[in-house]
């Protein structure tokens, strides 16, 4: 098994007196597929915002490929190989699809071949024919694909898909799962944060469960889902 390349240790975040995240330890091996689940408000997005650098101040340490990320701005982390998608697609609305994907490439030192590489990324997400469209002309699932294309333009070692399938139909969910598998095969470890259990179980090799800001389970999906605490958190205790 490949070695651990991402590590969050003792991660915690408070908003005033409210503890959003406490003492969370998560390790990830290169190319691993991790599902992160938990009820609304359990700290999943806080976790993502902490490791991606959106929240500058938090407890604990995050390392990626041996580099301590403490104090680094999101754009530095992005260039170190951490890419994310947002819960609600956040395209650059005045730029067309191709330009949206060119932006990360321009700032990652690939200015000369940015257009070719951006087209390649769009082909990977099957959006090459939409290259000249504006984001607002895209459907929901196409906007999600654009988010993914923009993320993979960074050639990430770690891709965080934050509810990339919310609001999509069954077939569309399958398409995105297939896409995430493809990106994973290309070498990126993936953290999938999702409420659609079908997607999480189909995709994840390992499952982490958050409840009220704490990690309550971490292991193979089948075992984790069988735990009484997890069932209790989702369905209520008897």
């Amino acid at each position: 098994m490949s070695e651990v390349f991402f590590r969050a240790a003792g991660l915690g975040k408070r908003f005033g007196g409210f503890v959003a995240l406490a003492e969370v330890d998560i390790e990830l091996r290169a190319g691993e597929r991790l599902g992160l689940i938990g009820p609304n408000g359990s700290g999943k997005s806080t976790f993502v915002n902490c490791i991606s650098g959106d929240f500058g101040e938090h407890d604990g340490q995050v390392t990626l490929g041996g580099v301590a990320l403490g104090g680094l701005k999101p754009h530095r982390r992005a260039r170190l190989g951490m890419a994310r998608t947002f819960q609600l697609p956040q395209p650059f609305n005045s730029l067309n699809v191709l330009e949206n994907v060119r932006v990360p490439l321009l700032f990652a030192g690939h200015a000369a071949e940015a257009t070719d590489r951006a087209m390649a990324c769009l082909e990977q997400v099957e959006m090459a024919d939409k290259a000249r469209k504006l984001p607002k002309e895209l459907t929901q699932v196409e906007q999600r694909r654009l988010e993914l294309a923009r993320a993979i333009a960074l050639q990430p070692r770690l891709l965080i898909a934050d509810e990339a399938m919310a609001g999509l139909s069954n077939t569309e969910v399958d398409q995105i799962i297939a896409l995430l598998f493809k990106l994973n095969e290309a070498g990126a470890a993936v953290i999938m944060i999702e409420h659609i259990m079908r997607a999480v179980t189909a995709f994840s090799e390992r499952l982490v469960v958050f409840v009220a800001g704490r990690k309550i389970a971490d292991g193979p999906p089948r075992d984790v889902l069988a735990l009484a605490e997890v069932e209790g958190a989702y369905l209520g205790k008897q």
Binding site: S52, K73, A83, V103, F107
Partner: protein
């Protein structure tokens, strides 16, 4: 032909044609009015770099412009430097001011940033009013030679200097638009958080933009004391500069290099015409009406309106 070369050659040809036309006219007023319009081309182009591309609305144009004008006065009083070195000094001082303002205020978003820039202008004005060395509230006189060969007159010289500055500013705007910097600023305008997440160093780009914007606004102001021969804080910090710097790019088409040029030529000509035929008090009234009309009919400016129809 290389598009950059074509732009510079085209701009130079247009500039030469303007100078030749005004020489044929043989009236000093032509230079006077031309300068008035061109200073706004510089000011609007400068505003556009931060406001048009990055979406940060700077209400402090008058502050930066006055910083440039007073820098020119200071280096003249202190070192005896003339107009051209004064312009460089203005670019330096106003650029630093832009950098400092940017560093202090860019954590603020939207309307909060705008108010901070407005405050900057007020603070600077208070400073200048109480600074005796540059004339304080009495103002400062600049006495210049009447003729300055090889130019026909001093006004012609000032006009040509401002013409060159307008061309350079427009060229810089165009270069920004076509560069990585411009794309990054557009990404910031559309979605700053997403821009940062895909590797755009947002703070650094915004600082480059505020510095460039400040420096060019200072440049627009540097020849002002030479133009009017006298400068007091009330004139240098005039509300008209702050309003026009925003209205002109918006009306021409913000976020495009040609937009501020079109807006400035249109609005400044109208204002100059109104000043001569009716009264100078009407200037801001005209700007106000134009803004109202454009916001209703063509919210993306003249260029945006044509692009939509194309």
């Amino acid at each position: 032909m290389n598009t950059h070369l074509r732009f510079w050659l085209g701009a130079a040809a247009l500039g030469l044609a303007l100078v030749a036309g005004l020489r044929l006219l043989g009236n000093d007023y032509g230079y006077f009015a031309g300068y008035f319009v061109l200073q706004y081309v510089v000011l609007a182009g400068a505003w556009n770099i931060l406001g048009g591309y990055a979406g940060y609305v700077n209400f402090g144009a008058a502050g930066f412009m006055a910083a440039g004008a007073y820098s020119a006065i200071v280096v003249r009083q202190w070192l005896g430097w003339d107009l051209i070195p004064g312009i460089f000094a203005a670019a330096f001082v106003a650029g630093l001011l832009g950098l400092g303002t940017g560093y202090l205020t860019l954590r603020l978003k939207g309307v909060y940033f705008s108010i901070a820039t407005l405050c900057l202008a007020v603070v600077l004005q208070t400073l200048v009013v109480n600074w005796d060395y540059v004339g304080g509230s009495r103002g400062a006189y600049i006495i210049h030679a009447r003729d300055i060969p090889p130019f026909n007159s001093y006004s012609e010289m000032l006009f040509i200097v401002m013409l060159a500055l307008a061309i350079i500013t427009t060229g810089i705007g165009r270069a920004v638009e076509m560069s990585r910097l411009g794309r990054g600023l557009q990404a910031i305008r559309d979605n700053e958080r997403a821009a940062e997440a895909v590797g755009v160093p947002t703070l650094r780009l915004k600082l480059v933009a505020t510095t460039l914007c400040g420096a060019l606004m200072g440049v627009a102001g540097a020849p002002l004391p030479y133009y009017s021969g006298y400068l007091n804080p009330e004139a240098a910090f005039s509300l008209a500069y702050a309003v026009n710097a925003i209205a002109m790019p918006l009306i021409g088409g913000a976020g495009t290099w040609a937009g501020p040029v079109i807006g400035a030529v249109l609005l400044a000509s109208l204002q100059q015409a109104a000043t001569v035929t009716i009264s100078s008090a009407l200037n801001l009234w005209i700007v106000g009406w134009m803004l109202v009309i454009f916001v209703a009919v063509a919210p993306r400016g003249i260029l945006g309106w044509f692009r939509r129809r194309a």
